[in-house]
Symmetry: C2
Subunit: 371 residues, 2 copies
Amino acid sequence: MQIPSAFEPPQRLLMGPGPSNVAPSVYQAMARTLVGHLDPTFIKMMEEIKEMLRAVFQTQNAMTFPVSGTGSAGMEFCFVNLLEPGDEAIIGVNGAFGARMADVAARCGANVTKVEAEWGRIIEPSQIADALKKTRPKLVAIVHAETSTGALTPIEELSRITHEAGALLLIDTVTSLGGCPVKVDEWNVDAVYSGTQKCLSCPPGLAPVSLSPRAMDVAAKRKSKVQSWYLDVNLLSSYWGEERVYHHTAPITMNYAIHEGLRLALTEGLENRWNRHRQNHELLKAGLTELGLGIASQKGHQLWQLNAVTVPNGADEAGVRKRLLSEFNIEVGAGLGPLKGKVWRVGLMGETSNPRNVEAFLGAMKQILKK
Amino acid sequence: MQIPSAFEPPQRLLMGPGPSNVAPSVYQAMARTLVGHLDPTFIKMMEEIKEMLRAVFQTQNAMTFPVSGTGSAGMEFCFVNLLEPGDEAIIGVNGAFGARMADVAARCGANVTKVEAEWGRIIEPSQIADALKKTRPKLVAIVHAETSTGALTPIEELSRITHEAGALLLIDTVTSLGGCPVKVDEWNVDAVYSGTQKCLSCPPGLAPVSLSPRAMDVAAKRKSKVQSWYLDVNLLSSYWGEERVYHHTAPITMNYAIHEGLRLALTEGLENRWNRHRQNHELLKAGLTELGLGIASQKGHQLWQLNAVTVPNGADEAGVRKRLLSEFNIEVGAGLGPLKGKVWRVGLMGETSNPRNVEAFLGAMKQILKK
């Protein structure tokens, strides 16, 4: 065979639904020489990652660490550990990732009750309350920030009614973590997962997760073994815990990346970081209004970091994306499911969230839509 | 909290059971700027990775790609797709990774027949033939290169008797791929997985896998859904196939790494690479003999890339490893299971396999064992 030449990526401005742009010091971290996954220096770094992740998730949960897979592996980690065949689960479905959660839960053998909302709208507490009148689930799962629609579902009231019903609360914070408030302990969340490639601005490859002591207790007292060996928290807690029992070989370089990414987030300060994401969202929104464009997701619940921009009548949705990429080196995302062809998904996540990038995008759109 | 300082890894010579040292151009590849996982340039690179992996696995299998997890995720990928509850499986257990396969298969609901050999010895075809007289399994699984013992089990005869019995053959090549012959098509293997951090000399984080058309057919005709959404080959084949249906966000930087690692392997040439591993193994063995040390695994079946060096009577096994690391910056591995305290696992994998490193290790051992 003809051996391909070395890959030379184009210099994109990553304004889609993830990955987002990566900070220079994270690239530098990934180019550092490898150590073994049981090296004392790596083990010390694992401790630092856990501690920084706790700060970013705003939790004291001991079991807070990055799963060795992408965000979807984090989702699967939460479900496979908490659900057993025959368990009941209520799952909010208001976008692609809620639908994925329902699929994953069913593959664990759970009986899933879907609570649905139109894509772009939030899951209302009253909807969950109604479902809880009909079933006594082991857990309720909600997507905090729906990457497919740009809607942010508030968690506090949902958490209250979920716990009143004696269920665990599981939330997806893949797109929210690092870009807007995620308060695991204050909100009383039992299981949470995220990804590295959105508002933490690292490459994809790890899934930060956190389980409350209550969730850990459920996992420890299961009747059946966790169906995934790779994601079994009872094994992983010995590897990421004090015993350091060998489980799998951690993706070392990706851990270098998240270590640096978390350092950057905490050095900036979470409040500052959230404000930055809010401000650049408002800047984008003002500019969109000038262009006669709006945001499709529910008013009052629009994500700062991911904007579902309405495609105007007559515009060529895919053609605009293609021109943004080829003429301006700007990547934005397409709509999924019912929003396919109706929105562009414009991310302002992590490193990408700055005024210069907002202006670059607005300027490019102005040129493209005029013609 | 006190924000930790940036991680500055020590410069180790990685001579354990993996990860191995990484080539400079692979580090450079990982520092390249990120593109989106649906970027046309990334999609072209995915095709090149598949093509190069086929060359390295010596297969024409269409479904040949890197799973987005470490080697153990590759193991789980193979089992969850091929096994359903109630299926029969025969698994060779002659080390830690055979034992892990049996655990993973049981978590798929399979009835597992273990065919065991002493750690350090190979699984004999006659043992599998005997087991096949008592059960008609859906698959037979064997570890080609046991990372925990340094034994290499020949595959060809096992493959013949497995297929005569109408079963699929699954093999673990985590430590063999890139360091000694792995001939998927010639050996008629149906499912194979590997890792990036051994003889491919990339950081851990991806698991190259390949499924034969027969295995793909079994996965497509399952009665039940694959229990893992993340590892479901029926979904992954649409993402890594021509349709490019979004599944998960691939670990982009790790794919940059494997692209470069495969390029290096194919540029060197597989035969040359295997010979290099053999030669450095022989160099090590000759040096060990001079030091009065031997290799614990079965004669005639010793791996070139991983050497289970017998700890001499009276030597402090852990103390020697500690001194190698702290005084010489050389990492070697401990024994696992029944070999704990009895062997050092000395890897000569990928980049690490060169005469200079063999001499550095032997020189260090000479100094340490004298005192």
